[in-house]
Symmetry: C2
Subunit: 348 residues, 2 copies
DNA sequence: CTGAAAGCGCTTACAG
DNA sequence: CTGAAAGCGCTTACAG
C-alpha cells in the first residue's frame, strides 16, 4: 500500500510526453500553447487516475510565491478576533490562499518572533493587528518586500495600507447618547497598553463628545485599566469613587474584556445597572446580548473588516508582484453601529 | 533598497567555503562534522549580518517535511473551538510547527475539499474534528501516509488515534444531578447532524442516568435540534409541550449553541429559570457564567484536549517518519467537570 | 504542436 | 576538516 507520491514525470513517462507538456496542461495553459485536445484529455485523465497532487513546495520554490498569508492578532480566543479570523480565513480560501493565524498575546517580543517566522515561511502577505508601539517591525516586513495591511490598529505616523473602523466616531456617538440621556459625570475605561490606536481613538471620541457638550471634560474620569489585573483594578477604582462620593453615573468602556470585568465588579459590589450605573461598551459580543440587562454596545462590522482586509492585501500583493508603482495607499475606514439595549438609563 | 534574498551560496561565496559547510553549520551539525570553531563563528556571524533566512520551500522539498499541521473544526468562531484552536496553535508553535486552521461549517463536501487542500500542501499531520459520517476521508488521509488524530469527535467503528472527553460520563453526571434535585421529567436536546459522536454519547449518558434511576426513560423527551433553525424549532417544541401540559421540569442541553437558543426562547416565552425550568448545558462558555441566573454546565478541559492532541499527533508523525510499526493506538479520554451554578432548582 | 534543459535553494550521501 | 555533485518536483524561457 506504500505507494510513492506521483509526480509530473510519472505522468509524462506513462504518457510518453514531456514534463513540460503535462505541466502546461495541468495549469490550464494547454490551449494557449496549442496542445491538442486529445493529448490534454489523456493528461487530465491519467492525473485523475493516479490522484496526482502537485508538490506545492516545488511550485513555490520555483515561482517564488507561497499562496499563504499570515494573520497576527493578540488573541484568537477573544470573540472579536475569533470572528475576524473566521472571516479572514473564509475570504482567503475563496481566493486559494492559506492562512496562518498567530497570537501575539500583546507581547512585543513574541510579535517580533512571529513576524520572523512568517517571513521565513515566505508568506505572500501579512494582515496584522499589532501590539508594538514603534514601527520597526513594519520596516522589517517591508525590507523583505512582503506586503502587509494593518487591521484594527494603525500607526498615525507611519503611512500604511489599513482597514479599520471609525473609532472616534463610534466612541463619540456612544458618549453623546449618554449625554442625551442626561448623564453628566461619564467615565471612560480604556485597556492597556495605552498606546494602541483603538484605545487612543476611542478615548478621543469620548472626549470630543464631552467637549462638544455643555459638560466639561475631566481627566479624572479617564482610567487606563491594566489588562493583567482588570477585575482588581476596576474594583479599586469603583470603591474609591464610591467612598469619595464621586461615582460617575455612566461609564463608556472602550474594550469588551474591560466591560466583562466591569460587569463582574458591579455584580460583586451590588451596583445596579442601569439604575445606579449606565454602561456602554465598544464591541458587541454574545455576553452583552444575553446579559441582564442587555448591554448597549458599539457594533463593529467584523465581516466587512475581514473582507476588506483580505481584498486589500491581495491587491497590494498583485501590484507588488507586477512591480507596479504603489504610490496609492489603500486606507479603508468602516462605520460602527450603536446597538441600543437596556444598560443605559435616563438621568436627571 | 531592493535587495535580493540571500541564499546559502551567497554566504558560502563570500566566505570562500562550500554550501555544504554553511548548511551544516547553520543546522547545528558543525560539531558533529568536525568543522573548526573558527569557521563556524565566521559562518554564524555573516549569516546574522546578511539577515539570512533559509528558504523553507527548498528545505521542505528536499527533506519532504513541511513542519506544518492542519486543524479542521466546524467553526472557529464558536467559543469552544476558538479556545481549542488557540491552545493548539500555542503547542504547535512551541514545537516549531505552523498551523493552518480550516472551518468545515458542518459541511461534508467542504471538509473533503479542505482535506484535499491540506494534503496538497503536504502538511505533516492533521488534527480533525470531523463532520463527515463515514470514514472515507480518513482512508484518504491514510493513503497519502499523513498522520492524523481525531479530536472532540470520533468513529467507534474505525480505529484511530484520538483525544476526546468522556461525554457519556459528563452527560450522565449532569443528568444525575438533575435527578438528585428531584426532577422527574428531564428532556435532552442534541444538535444536528445527529450522527456526531459527541451528541450520540451525551444522549447516551443522559439515558444511562435515567435508566439507572427510578424514573423510566421516554424517547419523547429527546429532541434533535436542527442547527439551521435552532430558535424556531426549540420555540415550537416548548410551545407544544406547554400546550399539552407535558412540559419537562429540566432540560439537559448537549451543545452550547443549542443552549443559547434555548435561553432566548425561554426569555421570549417568559419561562423562568430555574423556577419553571432547570437547565444544564454541555460546554462552559462566557455567556453561561454571566447569565442571570448563571448556567450550570459541564466544563471541558479545553487546554488539555489541545495539548494532548498536538502531543499525540507529533508522536505519531515521528513514529511514522521513523517507519516504526505503529501497532499501538493513542486514545486519550479526558474528564469533564460539572460546574454548579444557579440554573437548576430543587423539584418536589 | 512538443521537448530538452536550466534553475529555484536547500540537504545529504560520498569522496578525499 | 571540507567540497563537488546529485536531486527533491516543479515552471519557464528557448528552440525547433
Amino acid at each position: 500500500m506504500k505507494h510513492k507520491k506521483v509526480s509530473l514525470s510519472d505522468i509524462a513517462e506513462k504518457l510518453g510526453v514531456s514534463k513540460t507538456l503535462v505541466s502546461m496542461v495541468l495549469n490550464g495553459k494547454g490551449d494557449e500553447n496549442g496542445i491538442s485536445k486529445a493529448t490534454q484529455e489523456r493528461v487530465f485523465k491519467l492525473a485523475q487516475e493516479l490522484n496526482y497532487k502537485p508538490n506545492q513546495f516545488a511550485r513555490s520554490l520555483r515561482i517564488g510565491k507561497s499562496n499563504t498569508i499570515g494573520l497576527i492578532v493578540s488573541d484568537i480566543s477573544n470573540p472579536f478576533y475569533a470572528k475576524m479570523a473566521r472571516y479572514v480565513e473564509d475570504y482567503c480560501s475563496q481566493n486559494q490562499y492559506n492562512l496562518i493565524i498567530c497570537n501575539s498575546d500583546e507581547n512585543s517580543t513574541k510579535e517580533h518572533k512571529i513576524i520572523d517566522t512568517l517571513l521565513e515561511k515566505q508568506v505572500d502577505g501579512i494582515i496584522i493587528s499589532s501590539t508594538i508601539e514603534d514601527t520597526e517591525h513594519l520596516q522589517k516586513i517591508q525590507n523583505e518586500q512582503v506586503s502587509y495591511v494593518l487591521v484594527d490598529r494603525i500607526y498615525s505616523s507611519y503611512p500604511s495600507h489599513y482597514v479599520v473602523v471609525d473609532n472616534v466616531f463610534g466612541a463619540r456617538e456612544a458618549t453623546q447618547y449618554l449625554l442625551e440621556q442626561g448623564h453628566k459625570r461619564i467615565a471612560c475605561f480604556t485597556i492597556s497598553p495605552a498606546h494602541i490606536s483603538t484605545q487612543v481613538e476611542r478615548f478621543l471620541g469620548y472626549k470630543q463628545a464631552i467637549d462638544l457638550s455643555t459638560e466639561s471634560f475631566d481627566d479624572f474620569y479617564h482610567k487606563v485599566i491594566p489588562r493583567e489585573n482588570m477585575y482588581k483594578s476596576i474594583y479599586n477604582i469603583l470603591r474609591d469613587w464610591s467612598n469619595n462620593k464621586v461615582m460617575p453615573t455612566a461609564i463608556f468602556s472602550a474594550n469588551n474584556q474591560i466591560t466583562l470585568a466591569l460587569l463582574e465588579v458591579c455584580k460583586e459590589m451590588k451596583i445596579l445597572i442601569p439604575s445606579k450605573l449606565s454602561i456602554i461598551s465598544f464591541d458587541d459580543i454574545d455576553v452583552f446580548r444575553f446579559y441582564n440587562p442587555p448591554i448597549t454596545s458599539v457594533l463593529q462590522p467584523i465581516e466587512s473588516i475581514a473582507q476588506k482586509a483580505v481584498e486589500t492585501l491581495l491587491k497590494v500583493i498583485s501590484k507588488t508582484k507586477a512591480n507596479e508603482e504603489l504610490n496609492e495607499l489603500y486606507q479603508v475606514k468602516l462605520q460602527t453601529n450603536l446597538i441600543l439595549r437596556e444598560s443605559v438609563a435616563k438621568y436627571n
